[in-house]
């Protein structure tokens, strides 16, 4: 019985990672850059809901809506101010280092406003846990909602990219910005839309993460951010279903590692698995590796 409970806990944790990883992989897949500040956008989303709902007592729906709008604007602004001017820079490292800088900027800005002490986040999910097998197994409302939201977002993203005109433009930009421009695609606004979507997802992920793990600090986003990055690489970075599968697997591995091996070593196990996967299949589980003709 405890095995099944651990599995459910793993899927619960994993679906949060998957949700964050979807944003990571989307931005990487289209803009070809790792937005290390993604995790901190999650934290900003969670603080927004905390302020509006836990402090001001507004209904959760309002809080979530505001958080999504705020994070979307934040994502677009970060891209415009910090990344876009560097898009033509000689080294891709310039953008990567800037992303790390943005990450610290967000953490410290929130630290300045809210202070360093841990805030108790009130869950936005009103659903009671489901008890199975005479109460030996319990599935929390947060788990159900997170898994469901994650699935819906994944399917919507896949449909959006493959069926919509903007989605096709994104694929074109991800392959060849110059050629995309020759098709009449506005590369800058396409990348801005990508960041907007990624950041909106981050807001949702932040709210659900903090509903499941209700302690909030300015550094709350950084570890799940890194784990979600691992999940995205694990599943094949740039691949949307890959991010989902990678996230779920990572959550399960972490939970089993904690339960059966050692709770101190669980993070080491997670990153160890990443190293093994990269050694065996460098493009990740679902990563594409198409040889291009020159």
């Amino acid at each position: 019985m405890s095995f099944i409970q651990y599995l459910i806990n793993g899927i619960s944790l994993g679906s949060v990672y998957a949700l964050i990883a979807l944003g990571y992989t989307m931005v990487y897949g289209i803009a070809k850059m790792l937005n290390f500040a993604h995790g901190d956008v999650i934290m900003v989303g969670a603080f927004t809901v905390y302020t509006l709902c836990s402090t001001l007592g507004l209904p959760p729906a309002v809080g979530i809506l505001v958080a999504v709008v705020l994070c979307t604007c934040l994502g677009i602004s970060i891209e415009k101010v910090a990344y876009k001017p560097l898009r033509k820079a000689a080294s891709p490292l310039a953008v990567l280092i800037t992303a790390i800088g943005v990450s610290y900027l967000l953490q410290n800005a929130v630290l300045l406003i809210f202070g360093a002490d841990t805030k108790a986040f009130t869950s936005v999910v009103p659903i009671e846990p489901i008890k199975l097998a005479d109460g030996q197994i319990s599935i929390s409302g947060e788990t159900l909602v997170t898994v469901l939201v994650c699935l819906v977002i994944m399917v919507s993203l896949i449909l959006f990219i493959n069926k919509s005109k903007v989605g096709q433009a994104m694929l074109a930009v991800s392959e060849d910005k110059g050629a995309a421009q020759l098709m009449g695609i506005n590369v800058n606004s396409t990348i801005a839309i990508t960041f907007a979507i990624g950041s909106a997802l981050a807001a949702v992920a932040g709210v659900l993460y903090c509903s499941a793990y209700p302690s909030l600090t300015p550094y709350t986003g950084s570890m799940p951010g890194i784990k979600a990055f691992v999940a995205a690489v694990f599943g094949g970075i740039g691949s949307i279903p890959g991010a989902f599968i990678g996230g779920i697997l990572l959550g399960i591995i972490e939970t089993f590692g904690k339960a059966y091996i050692s709770s101190q070593l669980s993070d080491a196990i997670v990153f160890g698995v990443l190293i093994v996967v990269l050694l065996v299949k460098p493009s990740g589980l679902l990563g594409k590796n198409i040889q291009e003709k020159v």
Binding site: A169, L171, L182, M183, G184, V187, E292, V294
Partner: protein
Amino acid sequence: MAMLEIKDLEVYYGMIQAIKGVSFEVNKGEVIALIGANGAGKTTILHTITGLLAPKKGTVTFEGKNITKVPGHKIVSMGMAHVPEGRRVFANLTVLQNLKLGAYTRKDKKEIDETLEMIYKHFPRLEERKNQLAGTLSGGEQQMLAMGRALMSHPQIILMDEPSMGLSPIFVNEIFDIIKEVSKSGTTVLLVEQNAKKALSIADRAYVLETGNIVMEGRADTLLNDDSVKKAYLGE
């Protein structure tokens, strides 16, 4: 009035001047060839015309409008398409997805479908392979796709950069036949080529480019028989 007029164009890569004051014009319905050796600046000129590069001096005028400062993505909808050097098809997308992206700026679905039919008629091979990933096509087929993709925008003028590069002689002939057809159907063509003989054989007029300057211009058949051109570019 010329359809496309380039005036005193100067383009730099950092400190290095690649184009040193080039002027030329393309009239409606013409096939114009821009020939010259590697590094003469042919591709740079095309990139400047379609906004991938910004000139330091000079103007590009298209249909009487100064487009020098128009952002690159707005030029397609004005009626100018560009088939880039090295084809640059979207390798991970299907042939059909590539073609549809070519019509990105157009709105009327029916018109787009008509153009698609027309392109399938020009390039039957593309219809056969419409669901195949572009990266799996042969070089010649990719060139056809790049041309088809550009034509999907229904341009008044098409700029082609080295369409024969890296192709087998059979494909080269086929590509040049298609360029002739495109021209006949009313699209103006500006062709950049290292294969000077082929380019001159289908062009009306031509400009010879050498290290960023136009050194010779004239009717294509005259240049084809010019001794210095023969010596430098036709290997005779």
